[in-house]
Symmetry: D2
Subunit: 347 residues, 4 copies
């Protein structure tokens, strides 16, 4: 089997590169790696890939693609074979077609989420210990993607069975498991059976050993809900709020800071000038054991979404970014989700 | 003139001492100093007074009194003279009538807020460096009182002119000052004139040199809005949220954590089992210069209440504790405020 | 090839279980999982294995063994085959011979370091979000082992070529690389050649994707230098110092808090009552890319050991724990290291 | 009696303004307020005075003067009267002779420490909530001065009896008090008697209500040991170390970070390019009660100097800055201290 190593970089479509730069670079402290007429390449302190965020000038905002690094060049061929077998739209990009990247496989996942895979990548000098450059939210590295799709079960099956992802945590739309038995750390086999029969509302999937590389949430889709970035620590996230307020960007703060019950992440959600959503977060955990069953949360557990009980704003539930067709560059149309409604404690 | 030194202790009326103990002691980490059948005396790590929080068992919750320490025994007589001249209800309590306290003057301020003043106080061994005892929200010391009164201007005049308090910051109900001229740090004389003509919505008043010992906010009153406690640092406040969630007290979290624009405080508002409100906070500033004009905020400045733009919940605006008559022990009836309405950005 | 997942647990030999308990449980906040007459089993908040620290009562202190979890039961047989081929002392322990563990392979590495490998393990209820239980240094999980051995190159070759470990960083005893060419992020191939020709003073090796699971340092050996534990954050490490001082255990603080240049870790080194050394640390980085060449440090780079320039105390360089023979239980005799001396800036 | 409000600003003599700028502005984040050919005026975020640090170009480094703000203009005349009565060298400076300052009284204290007193001061726009400007060590405000003098008792008597200072803590050169009785929080009267009979090694004196505005330590003097600056929080102090290391100024770190037992301060001592010493610190406590006896520490209490047990380096004990004659501008010669030696645990 091939080995997808980790979340690598994202391309956002934006309508105004200058406005984006003020948000990502001036306020949040992303580092400018390279500038082109229509694209801005940004990176963070801990990263060694050339960049982790591409801002591409377009008419309409949305998601360009989500990229993953794999362990070897031949893994790309193996993934292309999955795309072919599963009848998924895909194409090859030659080395150099994307700045600093080797041969790249672009494909659309079963719901249409645009994914890029690559092995070869140009590295840059490491800034981890250039503390004199640390600014803004002191963002260390890109961490994960979060998508909305109509059929969360379908996404879960494909990512775990065809792509080798492992579930760390999930939300069940059914409050009570459909099969008898106690969910206990002492009985992992039972937990694996419960998830097979649960109505999946959302699922957190990882390859690198923390909570997720990609999450799939029930919703109008395919859409990108947000991209998550790892912050230096909790105080850097509080500092980010103070700085955004100081520079008059307080309206970019959509939700948080707070603690998620699910994933244990200390989070802050921001909207960029085009309403693309990013999360700045820290505080999840090490997860190396592939036989560990995912942690189960019921959708109506009040501490799941916000451990401290705060309700997310309506926009957080309803708004997300359209995603791009890898061949035409058009934004894909969406479908309604399998499950309607919201948690019982949200009106 | 007499010298009121600082906020000293508060007496809350509670209906269930065991429930209060679970909240204040078990969850938040207050230290039990002394227990009586009807009263629980609690303290914090940095304090050297015997206690700073008294919980008194009563039928109905509310505020017993707010106590201040003065610089000398004779200051008490000077304050009593003010009470007499201003026709305010007051009485003397002998040394020992209150646990660990010397002669105490009880009085009702012009709106009826019950105040105690004392000089002599029993000290206890200092726990500042007993880090092994630090628990819960790691609360260091009591910091301030916040009250709602019908006439904020009247309160401001009395506390500043009769009691020697100094205004640090204030909220004007009128967005634009009524007199011409630029408000600038270079022109303090003008700022002093502006506050004289502003419609006062709220005012922060201090004797010890930080933002406040007592704040007065326009509202149905006399009522106590909250008592503020100084936390060890910002992370202790985040930790307090995590701990309250862990022990199933998530509903006690009413507002925050967040940053106030006014006062710059990093705050968290909690409701105890009787709905008495406390604030756990840190992050204001040193203020020693009595000639420094108060910082002016317009009520409709969105960053005033929450620097990061979040709206306070309705309960925070509307609910507060009734206060006690110092002679009868009855809870005082209230009057409507001078100004109605809320900030324009709150529906 | 087999897959060693991660550092799992350590067994320390101690001479006084009560004294150890006061240090690990009362002061540092380790959780008691199970107590036997001669053994104490302890765990941390983020861990899901039954325990991560075993304290075994013996006449003489030292290291019992270092345990790793593998991905599957058959991995154990594959590792046993390596032991056999390489002529290393090894033995099997049946399921249940160790509390909560399945079939376990014990072996001595080429220098004699005692290692345990297991797949099956009893899990316990997760305490990650039981913030009400967080105490002391708020230690989250075991992270890594650090050993002293006479021949660091030999250890590097065996762990990388026979056991599948990957080098993250290393120290060269030669200040200047022996082959020409610039070490640059743009040229990883050259970095791989340089490490092949360097005199290895110390090497950091990992299987889980952060800086290390096991480090090998040049020195009198085989000896265990320390076991590293992951702390909640930097402030928890400062708090640990305050707490140790408060309870009169200030002499257990040997080095730090400070920042390592190598690994970027924010560290604190403590000695338990038997002089076993532990590190409490946080702040390294994600490392998922197996083709990333190790970061090279020259031994005489002053920022390598302590980024802030402080010198480690002599004891930190000279003292370490003897290790146990897996069959006799005797402590192994040691040999002198390949390289003598210390960094040039240490007298 | 007059009222000295607080520590206000310091003038350091430096030999190279550019080198000083790289240290104070580029690395530590002080704000440039005004530049002249021979002077650089710097300030911090929380301050409202025009500046708090003046760097003056001279041939030889040292201390220019230490300035305090008083409550009213007439306080200056009252202090001048003390100078006259006590035969201390003093002179008046007219409004405007010092940038942004009103009429200023310069004087030499009984040991020769050069002091400035002023009431009128130009204010600048407040940067407290300009979090976008926060950089480096995020220093909030100047806090205190620390001097070495030959006769600590003489200094204590003069500052407390003539200038109205209050002692917060002190170090006794005699381990055991010379009069019988237990030192206890319950018996403040006894503590006041003990300090009268103790051999004073060092004393912390304040007017603003925290631990100190000026400390006097036994030593070769008159010399300035350091000026203390208040940091945003403990992590800002750790960050300062990381940043200094990143920009190659690791040699400026002399001691810390660590916790003082005396004062409870979390500290870091730095040496500027001219070896003037500054402390960046946080974590002392509120102290408003003038009748509170000073906390007593014995010089040989190991936790007094560093709560965590680390020894200060020799330079910290031995090196300090010469101070200037207010009339000639020459550096004053020094005398030997009353007590020789160091704490018993320092060789």
């Amino acid at each position: 089997m091939f080995n997808i190593l980790r979340t690598a970089h994202v391309e956002f479509r934006v309508t105004d590169l200058d406005a984006s730069k003020r948000f990502y670079v001036d306020a949040l402290g992303f580092i400018i790696i390279h500038e082109e007429k229509d694209r801005l390449y940004l990176g963070c302190y801990e990263e060694r890939d050339l960049y982790s965020l591409v801002l591409r000038k377009t008419e309409k905002p949305g998601l360009g693609h989500l990229a993953f690094k794999v362990e070897s060049e031949s893994d790309l061929d193996a993934i292309a074979k999955v795309a072919q077998e599963d009848g998924l739209k895909h194409k090859w990009m030659n080395k150099g077609e994307k700045l600093g990247m080797g041969r790249t496989l672009a494909m659309q996942d079963p719901h249409g989420i645009p994914l890029h895979f690559f092995y070869e990548v140009e590295r840059r000098e490491w800034l981890l210990q250039r503390y004199d450059l640390y600014r803004g939210a002191r963002i260390q590295r890109i961490d994960h993607y979060n998508c909305q799709v109509p059929d969360c079960r379908r996404a879960y099956e494909w990512y775990t069975k065809r792509m080798g992802f492992h579930g760390s945590e999930y939300t069940a739309a059914n409050d009570v498991p459909k099969i008898p038995g106690e969910l206990s750390a002492k009985n992992p086999a039972h937990a694996w059976k419960v998830i097979e029969t649960d109505d999946l509302w959302a699922t957190w999937l990882h390859r690198k050993p923390n909570v997720h590389d990609i999450a799939m949430m029930n919703g109008i889709g395919p859409r990108l809900h947000h991209v998550g970035w790892w912050a230096y620590d909790r105080l850097s996230i509080l500092d980010a709020c103070d700085m955004l307020a100081s520079v008059g960007m307080v309206d970019s703060i959509e939700r948080g800071p707070g603690r998620h019950g699910l994933s244990n992440a200390f989070f802050l959600y921001l909207r960029d000038p085009d309403k693309n959503r990013i999360e700045i977060y820290c505080g999840d955990y090490l997860l190396t054991d592939w036989d560990m069953p995912p942690v189960r949360w019921s959708i109506n557990d009040k501490r799941r979404a916000t451990f401290w009980g705060h309700l997310p704003p309506k926009s957080w539930f309803e708004e997300a970014s359209l995603v791009e067709d890898i061949t035409t560059g058009d934004l894909l149309s969406t479908s309604d989700p399998k499950f309607f409604g919201k948690p019982s404690f949200v009106i």
